[in-house]
């Protein structure tokens, strides 16, 4: 039987870093194919290749036995490849039925829109999928779960043959997850292939027929789900030797600097309590959606928490805005450096001085030479590869861009630095530089909260590792206790059976 979609030898790299290297996977119709791997293993790159958002450097995509060039999302759509993300793509102003049939309304006499047939057909599709949605419901009132089901119905009605679901259960309640799975099973019965990306291994158990594991951009294994235990999956996900241990300097760990007590944000995270001490590097691990960045954002004043307390040096701190947080000595390096960390068309000097501009501008007057001096200092300190402080950030490689973002925050001389995936998408050389800097900073008395999905990094750099799962802090491991397996198990909620 020919596979529906055959990925052969796909490779994709960005500026010398491989996001995917020689990956070959076959996806059959009528199967639920789980795709697992750590953050950064290459799953989203794979999805982007399938949906035409990006093109492979090497390899080919074979659909129905024919090699295809999927140049844009519309082409993928025509081939029957549809992707669903955590944020469902819907038309919020239209009804359910209209969403399902957008652009393809059933026609009645004189090629007019046949509303009753649209309602009936939509109703039938929804019923077949076991979805309890009335066709006339305005989508605006629907929650995420229902919107997801709506997207599935829409995909089905447009004859999708391969449905990719990227972490679909992240925002769902257990009940809704069950609903979703029932719908997925119906899809399977109808011969639709479903690629299901999730890090919740119990869900993989419940729904998947086949499991593909990716690690560091490479294909590790594809096996029937029945053959794999959770422990085995975890081992496949992380099974790498930890040879490059990072040069962590010895730092003197002092008093408690930051206390987080019962921090809570409705529906996002709750009961989060931990302490950070001077000179410590604390790693915060967990899968995407566990709530790590959200906790950081709440501490830094970007989002308002609903409950709990934060204390800096024992004094209560109410994070009202990033400016307020900055003034108290906090700094946050966001996960999405392009969207949130940098102003792309502007120079290194401008970006680096952004957070401390009030200090560099007596009476509000810009003094570009001070900005350039600041930039030069960090270019040297962090070994940023650039031609001059005036170079636009847009022209730098990812790693160097990240260093510029880091410079911005270091310029503010924070006492507590929260780094969110600081080496994400960064080349090896830069990674080492960043690590060296982090460790050096800690040795100088800074406190660092390192949010990272790269296990070697977390284990190599941290004095302690906190693990979050589903919005809660589920584990705290000391440096000696922490191993890759234990971290992933805590993050995935796996109870390790004996041996």
């Amino acid at each position: 039987m020919t596979a529906l979609v055959d990925l052969r030898g796909l490779s994709k790299s960005y500026g010398g870093v491989h996001a995917l290297a020689d990956v070959s996977v076959s996806i059959d119709s009528g199967t639920v194919h789980a795709l697992v791997g750590e953050n950064g293993a290459g799953k989203s790159t794979l999805v982007k290749l399938l949906t035409g958002v990006i093109q492979p450097d090497e390899g080919e995509l074979v659909v129905d036995g024919e090699s295809q060039r999927i140049g844009d999302p519309q082409t993928a759509h025509r081939l029957g490849i549809v992707a669903m993300y955590q944020e469902p793509t819907v038309f919020p102003d239209l009804t359910v039925a209209e969403n399902v049939f957008a652009g393809r309304h059933p026609r009645g006499p004189g090629r007019t829109v046949d509303w009753s047939r649209m309602r009936a057909d939509a109703g039938r599709i929804l019923e077949d999928l076991g979805v309890e949605l009335a066709p006339g419901t305005p989508v605006r009132g629907l929650g995420v779960a229902d919107r997801q089901l709506l997207e599935i119905a829409k995909a089905l009605s447009s004859s999708a043959r391969l449905l990719i679901m990227d972490e679909p259960t992240a925002a769902l309640s257990p009940n809704e997850v069950e609903n979703l799975f029932a719908t997925v099973r119906k899809l399977r019965e109808r011969g639709v292939a479903v690629v299901f990306i999730s890090h919740r291994l119990e869900e993989v158990d419940a729904i998947a027929d086949v499991v593909t594991v990716l690690r560091d951009g490479r294909h590790i294994a594809t096996r029937p789900a029945a053959e794999l235990s959770h422990g085995e999956i975890v081992r496949l996900m992380v099974g790498r030797s930890l040879d490059a241990l990072f040069p962590k300097e010895e730092a003197e760990i002092g008093d408690v600097v930051l206390e987080v007590d019962g921090l809570r944000r409705r529906g996002v995270f709750s009961h989060v309590s931990f302490e950070l001490r001077r000179g410590e590097i604390v790693g915060l691990a967990g899968f995407v959606g566990a709530g790590r960045s959200e906790v950081a954002r709440a501490i830094f004043g970007i989002d308002r928490p609903d409950g709990g307390e934060i204390r800096i040096d024992g004094r209560r701190f109410r994070p009202r805005s990033p400016r307020a947080a900055l003034r108290r000595g906090l700094a946050y390096l966001p996960e999405d450096r392009l969207q949130q960390g940098l102003v792309q068309p502007m120079s290194i000097a401008v970006n680096a001085s952004l957070a401390v501009l009030p200090d560099l501008t007596p009476a509000g007057i810009l003094q570009p030479w001070r900005e350039r001096r600041l930039a030069r200092r960090f270019i040297e300190q962090l070994r940023i590869k650039a031609t001059s402080p005036a170079q636009a950030v847009r022209g730098l490689s990812g790693g160097n861009q990240q260093k510029v973002v880091l410079s911005k925050w270091l310029a503010a001389e924070p006492r507590i630095l929260i780094l969110d995936e600081p080496t994400h998408g960064v080349d090896v050389g830069t990674k080492a530089d960043v690590h060296r800097t982090i460790s050096h900073l800690a040795a100088q008395g800074l406190t660092i909260l390192l949010i990272s999905s790269e296990l070697p990094e977390v284990l190599g750099m941290s004095d302690r590792v906190l693990v979050m799962r589903e919005g809660r802090l589920v584990a705290e491991l000391s440096r000696s206790e922490a191993t890759q397996e234990r971290v992933i198990e805590a993050a995935a909620g796996v109870q390790e059976a004996a041996a």
């Binding site: 500026g15 790159t45 982007k48 990033p322 102003v343 502007m346 501008t361 007057i365 810009l366 847009r394």
Partner: protein, 359 residues
């Protein structure tokens, strides 16, 4: 190996150079229409009837660079001028009345600022409404009447000359161009505007006072409308409620866009707007010499506006393509964004009414 910075500078320099060339070309054309054109008196006086437009354009520049739009500036100027006239007519001292007018204009700008910056309403819809509301206020205050006869030492600002040749209005405009240019390019506030227009999220994350800056920029635009009112009153010597209700708004927007200010925010220079204003004034002057009707002139300016934006779009598209070709092997493209979409991604995700669904 050329850096991006150098390439970008080249692009900017090219635009202003282009404007200078156009100014010269328009000058040649005007001269062919009438040799009177090159007389010093004429050259100096060329922009005087339009100085109020230039001042409005300067104020609008700040707003557009910050990523917003303000089409109520002309109405703000009108109502401010009308209120001044009414106050003065009722016996208030001319300078007090002027100060009150300035305060009113700034206040009206502040209203825009609060609605847009604090309530986060779309700037297009709000300023479309205030465009009408402020104009309406002008009518309510003055009705169908006209007021004229302001004291000379007041009208001199907009209509007076030094030794019969040098228009004071020109000096006023240049002074503001320099002052505002410094404000835009040499202060922290100006820097914040560029960052806001480029990437509002990054601005917020970096601790920039986003709300305060947005409110302020509209207040500034309002203030400049007040200044423009003073000049307008001085030059025309009289005021009615329907003052400047014709092509003035188009001229102002054209000056800003033609000046190289990106309509989507994040880039532009005061020098460019000044040059573009000179060009627009020169063209109007020339078209007047050629005896083209007002409506035809408006058509030309409208066409210029459209052309400027199309040109801007084309240049940006070419730059993006050049990017990908030149930097292919060396750039990291963030895994989360599609190729070449980064620059537009932030804007594309911001839903703007009247801004179209074709971006």
């Amino acid at each position: 190996m050329r850096t991006v910075g150098q390439l970008a500078w080249k692009a900017v320099a090219r635009w202003e150079m282009l404007l200078v060339l156009l100014i010269l070309a328009a000058g040649v054309w005007s001269w062919t229409l009438s040799s009177f054109f090159l007389r010093r008196a004429n050259l100096l006086d060329l922009a005087t009837p339009y100085v109020f437009l230039g001042l409005l354009a300067f104020g609008l520049t700040f707003v557009v660079i910050a990523g917003e739009i303000d089409i109520s500036v002309v109405s703000t100027m009108a109502v401010s001028a009308v209120c001044f006239a009414q106050l003065w007519d009722s016996g208030v001292n001319v300078w007090l009345a002027a100060a009150a007018a300035l305060a009113l204009a700034t206040g009206l700008g502040l209203v825009n600022g609060v609605l847009i910056g604090v309530l986060d309403l779309p700037s297009l819809a709000v300023t479309l409404g205030t465009l009408a509301a402020y104009r309406g206020l002008a009518y309510v205050v003055l009705g169908g009447d006209a007021i004229a006869g302001f004291p000379t030492h007041f009208t001199n600002i907009g209509g007076g000359y030094i030794s019969n040749e040098l228009p004071i209005a020109l000096l006023v405009m240049l002074a503001f161009a320099v002052a505002l240019g410094l404000l835009l390019h040499a202060t922290r506030f100006g820097r914040y505007l560029y960052v806001l227009g480029s990437n509002r999220e990054a601005a917020r994350f970096s601790g920039i006072p986003v709300m305060r800056t947005r409110v302020t920029v509209f207040a500034l635009s309002g203030f400049m409308a007040g200044v423009a009112a003073v000049v307008y009153l001085g030059f025309f010597g009289s005021i009615q409620a329907d003052a400047a209700s014709g092509s003035e708004l188009i001229d102002v927007v054209t000056a800003v866009v033609l000046g190289g200010v990106d309509i989507f925010g994040g880039s532009g220079s005061m020098l460019g707007v000044l040059l573009a204003f000179v060009l627009v004034a020169e063209l109007r002057n020339g078209m007047q010499l050629a005896n083209w009707s007002g409506a035809t002139q408006d058509m030309v300016i409208g066409g210029l506006l459209v052309g400027a934006i199309l040109a801007g779009n084309a240049v940006r598209a070419a730059q993006a393509r050049g990017w990908r070709l030149g930097m292919a092997g060396r750039r990291w493209k963030e895994v989360h964004h599609a190729e070449g979409q980064e620059e537009v991604s932030v804007r594309a995700t911001l839903k703007t009414p009247g801004g179209g669904s074709t971006r």
